[in-house]
Symmetry: C2
Amino acid sequence: MALSTKPYKGARDFYPEDMRIEKYIFSVWREAVEQFGYEEYDAPILEPTELYLSKGNEEIIREQTYSFQDRGGRDVTMRTEMTPSVSRLVAGRRQELSYPLRWYSIPNCWRYERTQRGRGREFYQLNVDIFGISGSSAEEETITIADRIMQRFGANRDMYVIKLNNRKLSDYILQEYLGLDATEAHSLSTLIDRMHKMDRADFIAQVDAICSPSEREAGAVEKLLGVLDSKTLADLPSELQKQPALKELTQLMAALRAAGVTNIVFDPTLMRGFDYYTGIVFEVNDTDPHNNRSMYGGGRYDSLVAQFGAEPVPTVGFGMGDITMRNFLEAHLLLPKLASETDVYVVPVGDVAETMQKPVAELREMGARVAVGVVGRKLGDQLKAAAKKDLRYALIIGEDELASGQYTLRDLQNGTEEKHSLQRIVSLVQDHRKQP
Amino acid sequence: MALSTKPYKGARDFYPEDMRIEKYIFSVWREAVEQFGYEEYDAPILEPTELYLSKGNEEIIREQTYSFQDRGGRDVTMRTEMTPSVSRLVAGRRQELSYPLRWYSIPNCWRYERTQRGRGREFYQLNVDIFGISGSSAEEETITIADRIMQRFGANRDMYVIKLNNRKLSDYILQEYLGLDATEAHSLSTLIDRMHKMDRADFIAQVDAICSPSEREAGAVEKLLGVLDSKTLADLPSELQKQPALKELTQLMAALRAAGVTNIVFDPTLMRGFDYYTGIVFEVNDTDPHNNRSMYGGGRYDSLVAQFGAEPVPTVGFGMGDITMRNFLEAHLLLPKLASETDVYVVPVGDVAETMQKPVAELREMGARVAVGVVGRKLGDQLKAAAKKDLRYALIIGEDELASGQYTLRDLQNGTEEKHSLQRIVSLVQDHRKQP
């Protein structure tokens, strides 16, 4: 029986036209973060399973890992996210590295999820992390970068909104203001994380079930709803207004607005699924009502490096997936027309198999990217083949052209033909490369 | 207990200085193949296990795959090589694609091997394939590219040699000239593939054991040694001189020499481990006696696309690993000094946390890649931190600089300092980027 031509379910093939989009997204990411002095690193896609067991997102660890034993009996897991790996790398050279350390990576990650739009089983994720700064300049920088990336893709500020919260404020609210114990607080934060996917009555019933009778009597449910319904920091109950965690948010939001990042809001329902966050968390949301979802986010996680027995390193970072990014760009018509990696398709006419080698080599030496058609095939068929490749130019090489040194350059977009020297042709295709 | 900071055994972490080398190798690969009109594609690192079972390298399939069942009971394998995946992609769009199709990719591949120098359990591999050409221009082009890549890395022709053979010639020799049956021929080709790792007496004994008594009586062992000891095509026994497969080799070698690829030799012992080759095979070897090993290779495989129920597509391709490439570049001192992704490290002096934001933003807008130090840290400590990052320039921003608009640019390589406008600074660092 014939083998299937389909990729593994939930994973993607990248034919050249898809690969060009992927390369475009990666190049905008790289340019944006390098402008802020970030250096690229990488780590293996396979990690010891224990790396993911201690802290992270419970649902992913329990139900969504690709875990197995290697042929030597070692438990391994395909990377579900980059944060544990980058913490491992920093811990491994804790002493030698120079801080602040600004690192980025674009790893491929795997999660066994039910496949649906915007969520494959594999995705690439830009990871941007700054290590060694405990003050708020780290949050300011990373959120500014998250915003700059959107701007570089051509997004307007009404297309997305940046939501902010503070894990320390949430912890204070759950444990001190509502008086829950640690287990209840954890269950409740997981529930709040999912609250936008359920109706309000259902949510309230589940909050009710988590709280103990005495907590319910003390008004925990109503107090929680009062907090979650706050639209701004000023809306929060007066008992919370003096909290240092609230002041952190006020100052950060003022600094971001001063730097021009104006589309930011406080969101008390923002929990972020991962257990390792210790301070400010943020999330970027698409404002389009048809695609109104969390696109990416991050926050401060000061205690992961310490898991490796090293001194803790204050860290702020975020991750940004390629699938969500591409969906956003397509929905907002921001994806530009992307040119092929090839500049010119040479169409040989007549028996020029040997004689065309010299001009073709010269074109390449001068910097043109040149594909060559097959000697003996019909001119029309060759031009059709070239047109299917999203190329701009075909170059016809026959005996006349070889004799005169003037070659026929055909513009495949409008069908016009002009005769030029090789040098002129290279300069034309290079101009086109700059402005496709 | 603390988690280990080591990567999974046989896999590599890429700290920024290693990542720069990796990015350099990939960029030379990309430039070289794009010059010949190749387009980039990609496929998932996880494939259905059946993809690898039919044709390939037996040892890898039996002993070296990372195979497991996913949570839905599907048998999956981490990619061991790209050829099965790229054949799957071409078969999936057999009719729509336009030929000749020139595709490349740089996938990460995994094999469970005993770890040793030049062989990790994971590696990146440039894959270059041309589909749709049955004539020898396909072999000519791919071998020329393999050679161009070495030239682009700065290698001289005495540093490497390209070995050629023809699977059709080997098949004819084993089955017709020596008269072996298919099973014996397969065992013998596997043995020849390993002959350079054993001593001659041992090799002869094993050849002897594979041949039947009547084949031995007919002189099969001596005839085989006569073939394998041939240094050139002309050295081969006269009975073989008229074989079409031999003529293919003669013509290809002449064409390559005419194109300037002079360091090519015929090697009758060249088998290549993979079962799918159907014609010309080649291999590039390091000539350094201390590192005298096969670096990479490829050949013609015309029947893989047909495994997916599609019409066959003639194909020639090769693969080139990053670890072998890096070892070669290091051994021959060809690795250039690679600059950091960051141009300038800003050292704030005094309380300039807010006032420095404007000039820093301007530097970035003009195209400089700027990392910022921490306000309040000592000047000396900050310069030390900058120096550790392989950067060229530090930019000191204090109140004087902010008032005058003239900023102190410190060359970290020679310790000199000069005052410049922001515009001049951007132009200086961009010049440095072009010539590090």
